[in-house]
Structure formats: C-alpha cells, structure tokens
C-alpha cells in the first residue's frame, strides 16, 4: 500500500515535470524572436549565435534556461528570411567561421510594434494572475 502511493507520487512528479517543460517550451516559442530582436537592437555591434546564447544564459542567473541554445538558430534564420536581421560570415581564430547578425531598419520597426504587443500581454496576464479580473 505504502509503495503504491510512493509510486503514484513519483508518477505525479514526472507528469508535473513534463507539463512544466511543455509550458516553458510553449512560452519560449513566442518570445524568442522578440528577445533576439531586442538584444540585437541594443547591442553595440553585430553578434554571433553563441554570444547571444551566452548573454541570455547570464540573464537567467543559474536558473533552468527558458530558451535552449539550439532553439535560437531557426528563429535567427527566420528573422533573417523576413528581412528583420542581416548577417555576414567572418573567419575566427579559434574555431569555425562565425555568422554575425545585426538588426535592420525593418527589424527595429517590428521590435517597436512587438514591444507594444508584449506590454499589453503583460498587463493582461498580470491582471489575470493577480485576480483583478474576478474582483
């Protein structure tokens, strides 16, 4: 009886972790593009993928990262495909050649609009999570 409830507890924990992972993934899917545009617009110069990934990781201050490094690349390419970013390849001393990304004028305009949408989303979520909507 005791071992059964312990097994149930374990199962619940595993399910809970999987649900957390799924939620985190869904949340990051929409925010990665906004984060990348914002980082590149405030950067002092063009940045390469690993550099951006490291910068984001530092912001997490040791917590489980919301965005995995590998998830940045398809988004970077998609943003570039939509002319919001441009990139150039330059050789590096220590490893393979690096692709440096920088934001375009269209990218800056998109960032302004997205920032607005993000602020509205945040306000709405804050109100819902704070219970203000049911008061």
């Amino acid at each position: 009886m005791g071992s059964k409830s312990a097994a149930d507890g374990d199962g619940q924990e595993v399910r809970g972790r999987a649900a957390d992972r799924k939620f985190r993934k869904e949340l990051s899917a929409g925010t990665t593009a906004l984060a990348l545009l914002s980082i590149l617009s405030s950067a002092s110069g063009p940045m390469y993928g690993y550099q951006i990934a490291k910068l984001m990781e530092e912001e997490e201050e040791g917590r489980v990262p919301l965005i995995k490094h590998g998830a940045l690349y398809p988004v970077l390419r998609s943003l570039e495909g939509n002319d919001l970013l441009t990139s150039i390849v330059e050789p590096s001393v220590s490893g393979p050649p690096r692709r440096y990304y920088s934001i375009t004028e269209d990218g800056k305009e998109a960032l302004e609009r997205w920032r607005e949408i993000w602020a509205r989303t945040c306000r709405l979520m804050d109100r819902i999570l704070g219970g203000a909507i049911n008061d």
């Binding site: 899917a29 993928g49 995995k68 590998g70 998830a71 988004v75 495909g81 939509n82 490893g95 393979p96």
Partner: protein, 291 residues
C-alpha cells in the same frame, strides 16, 4: 571528432528524419557550428577542463534532439523560400500562368541557365583535369581538395539561385566542414561525402541542360512573340514573317489566326517554363542537398 558530439548529431539527425532535406542540412550545420564554437570557447576559458566535459556541458545547453527537431519543424513553416510567391490561391490554370510569378521566375532561370551552365562546366572540368594530372605530384592532393571545396561553394550558390527563382527550399547554410580532425581528416571528409560528387555531376550536367533550356525557350519566345506581332511587322514595317527561302507574306484573312496561335503558343511556353522549373528544382534538391 569527440564521440559524444558524434552521438548527439546522429541522434539529432534521427529525430529530424522525415523533415525537409534542406532543413536537416541547415539544422545539423547549426548544431555542429555552435557546438564546436562552444567547446572551443569553454576550453579557452578553462584550459584544465577535458574536451569531453566541455562537449557534455555544451550539448546539455544546446537542447534535447527531439525538442529541437520539433522546434525546427515549427519555425520552418514561417520561413518561406526567398522570393517565393506569397501564399495564396495558386494560379494553376492554363491562362492564369501569366499572373503566376513562379512561371516568370522559372523562365528567367531557363534563360540564365546557359550562362551559369558554361561557368560551372568550365570550372568543374578545369578543376577535375588539373587535379587529376597533378595527382602524381605532391601538390596534387591539396590542389584537388581546393578544387573540390570550390565545387561545393559553387553548388551552394546554385542552390541559392534555384531557391530564389524556382521557389524550392534549398540549404541556407553550407555543409559544415569539421575542424580538429587534422588536415588529412578534412581532405578525406570532402572526398568521402556523396554530395560533393553529386554536386560535381550537377555542375557538369548544367552545360547541356542550360543549352537545351536556353535554346528551347528563346526559340519558343521568339516564335510566339513574332506571331503575335505579325500584323504590325508585315503591314507597318513591311517585314515578312518567313524569309526562307524567299519572303512569304501572310494573307490578311490568316492574320487573326496567326495572332491567336502566337498568343496560345506564348501561354504554352509559360506553362512549359513553370513545369520545367518544377522538375529542375527537384533535380537540384536531389543532387545538391545532403541527405
């Protein structure tokens, strides 16, 4: 290469199975590129750390292969081939071809293909023959390696042209060239990849294909347009439609039929261009994309 990295890339490739070939090449190239940079930077920060440990932490941060594969599939849906027509009702009808940008772009590709075909063929044949004749000398192997690298570069450029004009998704990143396996390793890597050889065949094949495309489409265009312009040419400028072996003038009653025939021929040419573009896109994907 580090065993851990090799295993990770193989697992990633397995997870990407069934995805677009060009997406697979781009995803693997991204991963290999990022992980080599990450391992290199990690080792330069902590010189005491083993390569294995650096690889382990880089891989953990890069993400689970299954999750990443899903992510690539999802994001890819929003990434249209460059210059590909916006999504919307595709005009598939015989007449609607005139409003279909992909048909015009295919026609442009067919006309350009003779020029690119000549360049590819000349470079490929020169490269192969110079390398083959130099193989007995010590500089033969590095020379052949350089030529084969340039073939891969040319194949990549051709892929970008194919994507722009034929609207087929082609790799946006060149195949990653592994570092750290020594010069012999990198030389072997280039020669032992099937895509290098199929790209070379494609580059050589582009000359006959380009000549055929160019001749067929220029002839059809010239014929159909001159038929449409027949009344103007004959009645205003006094140029006969046929001059072989002696001038032949179209009877006036026949002119409307010639004009309509020319218009139909032009539409048929455009449809043929769209179809040929589609088939050529398939050939290019088969031969230029690793898979």
């Amino acid at each position: 290469m580090i065993k851990l990295l090799e295993d990770y890339l193989n697992a990633f490739r397995d997870e990407l199975r069934g995805a677009d070939r060009a997406v697979v090449q781009d995803a693997l190239s991204d991963a290999e590129d990022h992980l080599s940079t990450a391992i290199g930077e990690e080792l330069s920060r902590n010189p005491g750390e083993s390569e294995e440990d650096a690889a382990r932490s880089a891989i953990a941060q890069y993400g689970e292969p299954s999750e990443l594969a899903e992510h690539y599939r999802k994001v890819e849906k929003y990434t249209q081939p460059v210059m590909a027509p916006e999504r919307g009702p595709r005009r598939k009808s015989f007449l609607g071809v005139m409003a279909d940008p992909s048909a015009w772009a295919s026609l442009l590709y067919m006309i350009l293909s003779m020029a690119t075909g000549i360049v590819y063929f000349t470079w490929a044949v020169t490269g192969v023959s110079v390398s083959a004749s130099m193989l007995v000398l010590i500089i033969g192997v590095p020379l052949a390696w350089l030529f084969f690298l340039s073939f891969r570069g040319l194949a990549f450029v051709e892929g970008r042209i194919v994507e722009a004009l034929l609207g087929v998704r082609m790799p946006r990143r060149a195949v990653f060239i592994r570092k750290g396996s020594g010069w012999w390793g990198s030389i072997k890597g280039v020669f032992s990849t099937a895509t290098t050889w199929s790209s070379l065949v494609y580059l050589i094949l582009m000359l006959p294909l380009g000549v055929v495309y160019f001749t067929v489409f220029v002839t059809l265009l010239a014929l159909s347009l001159s038929m449409v312009a027949d009344p103007v040419l004959e009645l205003v400028f006094h140029v006969p439609i046929l001059d072989i072996p002696e001038p032949w003038w179209t009877p006036v009653w026949l002119m409307p039929f010639v004009v309509v025939g020319g218009a139909v021929l032009f539409l048929a040419t455009m449809n043929l261009a769209r179809l040929t573009g589609k088939l050529h896109g398939k050939l290019a994907r088969k031969m230029l994309v690793s898979g």
